[in-house]
Amino acid sequence: MADRSAVAVSLPPHRMVRRSFMRRLLERRSTVALLMCSPLFLLIAGLVVYPAFYALYLAMLNRRMTQFVGLDNFAFLLKRDTFRLVIFQSCLFAVSSVVLKSFLGFVLAHLMSNIPSGRQRIWRGLLLVPWVIPLALSTLGWWWLFDPSYSAFNYLLNALGIASVPWLGVAWPARLCMITVNVWFGTSFFMIMYLAALKSVPEQLYEAAAIDGAGTFQKMFYVTVPMIRNVISVTVLYSLIVTFANFDIVRILTNGGPESKTHVFATYAFQVGIQSGDIPLGASVSLFMFPLLAVFAYFVLRNVTRRGKEMTV
């Protein structure tokens, strides 16, 4: 405020100079802005937009990339049982992991907000460790925990008198293991997001609800959930995208086995496209992810664009 009035006072003497200066400034302003954004443009245009369209083109070539085959690759994939299993497996993995992460994250956020804020730091610090370790490395740790011969988990089961479980050797246990690893990794992210959102809910709302006789669960469903709905939806959608496209966990734990029963889109695309060298088919596999991701992304963006509009120019 003080600065602004000082400026206003000192203006009149050189108003003429200032006006032409401002005009030139306005002309230059957007040029400078474009220049400053150009590295970002180049990066996104060259390494995101171009590859995206290139993927569409690639997916319509034959294996040797000599002939245009239209949608044959997609049709071929949809006829294969392995690929149908990939679709099922990816959806199962993403949906059940995200539901579990969201639920546990919600519970954890409430537990955290129950304890005094001075103590929260240390607990938050410990709970976020799974999220901080690079996923590829912690999955290696899980793999070792699941190892059939010297398995740490089987040791515990045997100690309780239960027979060993071939954790990653049979399809269903392997699927559950993948979901477990993903839930272990991602729950703390949900907790952090929900905890930040919980802190923004005004205390008076809970007091008012208490006066109206609301119990704990009523407070949760009629005050907390509506108030943090926006954060819940952004977090869930974002996590659905990331989980759906996950590569690290499946690649390290099972690499799609046993008998290609546990592949997800990313690992199957890797196997087909990079390892077997059928680039067009691999590109078609990962393009199958696109429609679903686009729907999720649309809803995330709808929640987020408000920020873009609020952004002052």
Binding site: C37, L43, A52, Y54, A152, N230
Partner: protein
């Protein structure tokens, strides 16, 4: 509101307060108990990784006794690892790629965020949203066409293809974080700077960067974690040992046929996970600010 409570609840007040206090104490201790369980479960894998890394190969292979305990702790795995030239190579490669990625990403995103929030041009608000859209594109969607792009550039099995590709993963969110911080700086500051005759770059350097330093730290940490932990691009584009980075090198080179050197693998994981954990331990608040920037400000 509180007046109404006081009059309505007056007769039974002492009892209700006592019971609600007891309820609160229960909630508190219940929460602590549940948190202990969660922390315990969450820390099982890291604990087991560290425990294994302290065991000798003989101990691991012996298959007797409780695998959860370390009977003869030794640092031999770590010593062996650092004596291996390939492992030192992975570490150096990871450090180099990450350093380049982080600096390139930060320059690109700070410039772009400044241009978008402070200077602006037609459609800059739309562009800001589409930057966020790019953030939502996962690495596994485009890695196959990118394989062709990398091959055309002659960078297959070249470490530096990662430094080219990682910024696509880091820049969108870093830009987003910086847009948030830059928009919160009052407009008056720029006017003053412009009237004092500062150019735009000078304005950015001497006003915006110092004021938005917390955002810069948060974005830097984000770029660091992305490029340190990325797994798909290195496994898809690199195959020889001298070009690999930590995430793929550990799994790839310590498993020879059916021989899994678990002690060394876990020691490698511990070493590779240490830098993010150390950064996190010292800069937890910035780390969390970066994490939540997407949702709470949106």
């Amino acid at each position: 509101m509180s007046g109404a409570v006081a009059t309505a609840g007056a007769p039974s007040r002492p009892r209700r307060r006592a019971s609600s206090q007891r309820g609160r104490a229960w909630a508190l201790w219940g929460s602590y108990a549940a948190l202990v369980v969660f922390v315990f479960v969450f820390l099982v894998p890291p604990f087991y990784m560290v425990a294994t890394s302290l065991k000798s190969d003989a101990d691991i292979a012996a298959e007797v006794g409780n695998p959860w305990l370390v009977h003869h702790p030794t640092l031999q795995n770590f010593i062996d690892l650092f004596m291996m030239p390939t492992f030192r190579g992975y570490f150096i490669n990871s450090v180099m790629v990450t350093a380049v990625t982080v600096s390139v990403s930060m320059v690109i995103s700070v410039l772009a965020a400044f241009g978008l929030t402070r200077l602006g041009f037609k459609g800059s608000a739309m562009l800001a949203s589409s930057v966020f859209l790019t953030y939502l594109i996962p690495d596994s969607l485009l890695f196959i066409p990118l394989f062709q792009v990398v091959r055309a550039l002659g960078l297959i099995n070249n470490l530096w293809c990662l430094a080219l590709l990682y910024p696509t993963l880091a820049v969108p969110f870093c830009t987003w974080i910086m847009i948030g911080y830059f928009s919160s700086i009052p407009k008056e500051l720029d006017e003053v700077a412009l009237i004092d005759g500062a150019g735009y770059l000078r304005m950015l350097w001497s006003i915006f960067i110092p004021v938005a330093l917390p955002g810069i730290i948060a974005a830097t940490i984000f770029a660091f974690t992305v490029s340190w932990g990325e797994f798909l691009y290195p496994i898809a584009y690199l195959y020889s040992s001298d070009q690999k980075v930590l995430t793929v090198g550990i799994a790839g080179d310590l498993i020879r046929g059916d021989v899994f050197q678990w002690g060394k693998i876990m020691a490698g994981c511990v070493v590779a996970a240490a830098p993010p954990i150390v950064i996190y331990a010292f800069l937890m608040d910035y780390y969390i600010a970066g994490l939540t920037a997407g949702a709470t400000k949106g």
